[in-house]
């Protein structure tokens, strides 16, 4: 089509429509050409087929939607025996008990060796009564996880040991198995969003 100067004002509607249609189809053709160039370049440069996967291996990853199994087709609750290695002490720990282990291992929980050491250190300097008072307040206000099934046992033990604490001197108090203390002093009520 030869190019010529045209004035649009003299044209009627059908001619204008036809012009618009021409321009539109030119634009569409140009756009398609652009896409062709992209594909051509990708093929020539060698990256067009790069992301092809083979159908067979993809079948392994199909989602399963059946009751009683997860999306991989696995039965629930078969992961009891998983283990991991603690990055702090390098011991092999059961995965489902890793968090409480790490808490003690890093010395972050209230019943851990760090705090016990601190108690021992400061008991040599201060008198016993003030120290145990501080510890009492510390324990009462602590928030904690709760282990649902162990609730009942804990309450009675808690009362027992709490009164025990007030009479036993601090040094022998620490001598009691830390592990037992840990189980006993988990509080039951004051956890925001605590988990089982």
């Amino acid at each position: 089509m030869k190019m010529e100067d045209m004035s649009l004002s003299g044209l009627d509607n059908t001619k204008l429509e036809a012009l618009a249609q021409d321009i539109y189809s030119d634009l569409v053709e140009d756009a398609c050409l652009g896409l062709c160039f992209e594909v051509h370049r990708a093929v020539k440069q060698g990256y067009f087929f790069l992301d092809d996967t083979d159908q067979e291996s993809m079948k392994d990853f199909e989602i399963v939607d059946q009751p009683g199994v997860d999306i991989f087709g696995q039965v629930y609750n078969q992961w009891k025996n998983k283990e991991c290695v603690c990055p702090n002490c390098n011991r092999s720990i059961a995965a489902s008990r890793f968090a409480p282990h790490l808490e003690k291992c890093l010395g972050m929980g209230r019943n851990s060796s760090r705090i016990a050491n601190r108690r021992i250190a400061s008991s040599n300097n201060m008198n016993n009564k003030s120290e145990s008072d501080q510890e009492d307040n510390d324990d009462v206000n602590d928030n904690d996880w709760s282990y649902g099934s162990e609730k009942k046992k804990r309450k009675s033990d808690k009362v027992f040991l709490h009164s025990l604490k007030q009479h036993i001197p601090l040094v022998s108090f620490i001598a009691v198995e830390i592990h037992v203390l840990y189980v006993v002093f988990l509080s039951t009520c004051n956890c925001k969003g605590a988990n089982r």
């Binding site: 996967t53 291996s57 199909e62 709760s146 969003g193």
Partner: protein, 523 residues
């Protein structure tokens, strides 16, 4: 020479070929200026390249044989000749004159008549790219987005490793369970939300983190490793013990017997990631407001707080960054209704709170309502130079790419500790426009009905993750719904991943709601 190039360009690449090629691109392919620029007269020196105006360009680009301007015009690279491609006029010229190369005037591709194909020469493409960038800049169009292309080395690697994993619908890639390490579902639920945040996933899977931390304790590296685990295709649940260790090491306040709340974990994790990311930004700026790490790019928004003096009506404005929005719920000890002081609030946006369940929009309206601060909390007004009563209002100044809404279900007031189980309905698609600072201005001018601008996509969000807490304050359990593809949702319950329906998601109680911007703008 790359496999896509050809040896016939060597005849062309002599003398001042680069400059000549540039002229062709500037004048006939990508013209820069919208107006005619004055031509400089050649005075014996090298001809100056001049950008032609587009009307002028259009008029001069016609086939020298038939006068047509369509038909895929090509320009000869060795002389001044334009010819149609479809009518083969340029082919004739090439044969007659033995000029082997021509350039397509529409897209700038180089055609070799000996190879009889378009060829892609690295040097010539470089020039083409530069000229296009210059022209677009002149026209104010901005930069052209170029999709990723593998380098030669990457192509080699990809060819040697043909195994591919593609995330398609109905595919488990990207989904994986997480072992509960002992009441760590608060962490697992957040990990599921983060690993399914599209931008974060793309960042880590394209290996963008370049670690500069000396020790092994970079949380961002661990995050990167986590994404590898999730997209590995492994079926057995992952054991996130290293992640727990790192987070507790870097956020001591979280560890041990402290409150194990998913929301607190999210904020602490984002904080540590943000701190560790700063190290690989190049600029070791200590200014928290100036960080451009991926965490800030995705999660940081700006909250505007306007305090208006009731006497002189002067407004004092501050803007604070935020990673999440914590929303009060009806049923807490602070009153929820009415939404605005003294007014019935419910007529804003045409909704009525009497019609049923509280919605997320209700909570957001309450969050952005003007609040009378009362006579006991007078603010020093810089206009009045004295303490005056005032109203305060919060609005969104800058929306983050991922907006996290925290429904404050756990009440810890002096009198009681409890969980507020009020059902709050939340939408799949959310428009944040009514809560923007800019909308507030129009509301203050008396326009109460927000006219919805259907072409403004800036503030539209899509739900992609919901963290739920089941149970009571004393003992509960966290789970997450995540969206893998549009309308395909999954429930993540520690080690067990199952398919979920949209109805399951929308009927759930909701504790943390994650929304992703629908449209991303390039800066």
């Amino acid at each position: 020479m790359s496999p896509a190039g050809c040896p016939h360009v060597n005849g062309f690449k002599v003398d001042n070929w680069k400059q000549n090629l540039r002229v062709i691109y500037q004048c006939f392919v990508w013209s820069g200026s919208a107006e005619t620029r004055k031509r400089k007269k050649e005075e014996g020196g090298d001809p100056q390249p001049v950008a032609l105006s587009r009307p002028l360009q259009a008029k001069s680009c016609i086939c020298h044989m038939c006068g047509a301007h369509l038909n895929r015009l090509h320009s000869c690279l060795s002389c001044v000749f334009f010819g149609c491609f479809t009518k083969k006029h340029i082919h004739e010229h090439a044969k007659n004159k033995r000029h082997n190369l021509a350039i397509d005037l529409l897209y700038g591709g180089i055609y070799c008549f000996v190879c009889q194909d378009y060829i892609y020469d690295k040097d010539m493409e470089q020039i083409a790219k530069e000229e296009q960038r210059k022209a677009w800049k002149l026209q104010g169009v901005g930069e052209k987005y170029s999709t990723w292309e593998p380098t030669k080395r990457e192509l080699e690697l990809l060819r040697h490793n043909p195994k591919r994993r593609k995330i398609t619908t109905n595919c488990t890639i990207g989904l994986r369970g997480l072992i509960n390490l002992g009441n760590t579902c608060f962490m697992n639920c957040i990990v599921q939300a983060l690993t399914h945040t599209p931008l974060l996933r793309d960042f880590f899977l394209s290996d963008r983190h370049k670690c500069e931390m000396q020790s092994n304790s970079c949380l961002v590296c661990e995050m990167s490793q986590l994404f590898q685990e999730f997209y590995s295709g492994h079926r057995s649940p992952h054991i996130p013990f290293r992640l727990l260790h790192l987070v507790w090491t870097h956020a001591r306040h979280l560890a041990g017997y402290e409150q194990q709340d998913a929301h607190e974990f999210l904020i602490a994790a984002l904080d540590v990631l943000h701190r560790h990311c700063k190290d690989d930004n190049g600029k070791k700026a200590n200014n928290p407001n100036n960080c451009n790490c991926i965490i800030d790019q995705i999660f940081t928004g700006g909250l505007q707080s306007d305090v208006t003096c009731q006497v002189c009506h002067g407004v004092s404005t501050t803007i604070d960054p935020f990673w999440d929005i914590s929303l009060d719920l009806p049923g807490s000890s602070t009153p929820f209704w009415p939404l605005s002081p003294g007014g019935d609030g419910s007529t804003l946006n045409g909704e009525s709170h009497l019609s049923g369940a509280t919605t997320l929009t209700d909570c957001l309206r309450r969050f952005t309502r003007p609040e009378h601060l009362g006579s006991s909390a007078k603010i020093k007004c810089s206009g009045c130079h004295s303490y005056q009563e005032s109203t305060k209002q919060l609005t969104m100044k800058k929306l983050p790419i991922v907006a996290c809404f925290h429904l404050k279900r756990f009440e810890h007031s002096a009198k009681l500790r409890r969980k507020i189980p009020t059902y709050v309905s939340f939408p799949l698609e959310l428009d944040m426009t009514p809560f923007m600072a800019s909308s507030k201005e129009s509301r203050m001018n008396g326009q109460y009905q927000q006219s919805v601008d259907v072409f403004n996509n800036d503030n539209k969000y899509s739900l992609f993750a919901v963290v739920n807490h089941q149970g009571t304050l004393e003992s509960g359990h966290y789970t997450t719904f995540i969206r893998q593809h549009k309308d395909q949702w999954f429930k993540c319950d520690d080690a067990v991943i199952t398919k979920a329906s949209i109805k399951d998601v929308l009927d759930s109680e909701g504790y943390l709601l994650f929304y992703h911007k629908q449209f991303l703008e390039y800066e």
